[in-house]
Symmetry: C2
């Protein structure tokens, strides 16, 4: 959106950069709501922002619970804690799942791009047996060529932030960023 | 309960032990549901198990949102990711807030014990200005003696697990533990 980078995004990108040497620097926790109204929470890998937007990208298997959960309640909150700088980002917003049945050309492109920017090892996981089902002892090994387009189970989850609660424990600082309906952002310093 | 330690608890305690040198080893993410039905997610410090139970303990400020959220929806899910061993625990269960108005002697004791086992620095945070409210530039400094009983804002959150989804990424292993209404636990190996 525009040329100016949003302040919360600037903070997030600099935290990411300062932690890039850590294997878990792109791991955060995504909370959704189950069909029965109770919360679910799991670790996901942050795959960057969708081109030209401030929407966060994650990938998921169409057979995983979060896909149904996103249909039931299309709002999620990511909690991102940076272990070295003691910074926390709570990113609240609307989620959408882009699956293999997607028609929108822009969204199809996001899915294709996410697939090809994933490692072959990551892509292979989408050919594994049904996640969460009783363990198969000798699952069939599926061959996957590096040029092969996304398999049907491969989905992208986009998170469109509407509120970012930023906490810097070391600096004893907390700022809440909120998006207005017009797309502008406000920020307010609050007590930690 | 009883003498036998539950298998999921054994896994969690050994992950905690193998990460004890890391400052963030007791940090995990607690997801709750807001009054409007959308999720909330934040980093919390795991304060161990309540004596003689398998209930996880956390502390919170009575003025923080999670207290109202727990009243609205008394179910939470903790996501605990161990950065070195690549183990994840998703602990789903019933939450309860023990506040300064608690009558039950056992719960009062849990609250007192949690207070005195917290550092003086941690206890001081409960005398700080209202969390989340516009920042006060020069908050009043409150003196706190080490023998002083819990201040009114100090609350304990207990999580009574009913399901634990354990994932060991390196070993490519996932086990779901479920508690039956009788209190017994079953476990099932599932596909990661």
């Amino acid at each position: 959106m525009g040329e100016r980078i949003l302040p919360w995004r600037q903070l997030l990108e600099s935290a990411l950069e300062s932690h890039s040497q850590l294997q878990h620097s792109r791991f955060c926790q995504l909370a959704t709501v189950r069909a029965n109204g109770t919360p679910a929470n799991r670790t996901v890998v942050f795959r960057g922002f969708a081109d030209g937007t401030d929407n966060l990208l994650f990938t998921t298997d169409s057979r995983s619970n979060k896909v149904q959960e996103a249909q039931h309640c299309p709002v999620a909150e990511v909690c991102y804690y940076f272990t070295d700088s003691w910074e926390q980002f709570r990113i609240h917003g609307d989620i959408e799942v882009i699956s293999h049945t997607e028609d929108d050309p822009l969204k199809k492109e996001i899915r294709e791009k996410s697939w090809f920017s994933s490692s072959l090892q990551t892509r292979k996981q989408f050919t594994w047996p049904h996640p969460g089902q009783p363990k198969e002892s000798h699952p069939e090994e599926v061959r996957l060529e590096s040029t092969q387009p996304p398999v049907d189970t491969f989905c992208v989850v986009t998170l469109h932030p509407v509120e970012v609660d930023y906490l810097h424990l070391k600096q004893h600082k907390r700022i809440v960023f909120r998006s207005s309906s017009g797309g502008d952002w406000t920020s307010q310093a609050v007590n930690p």
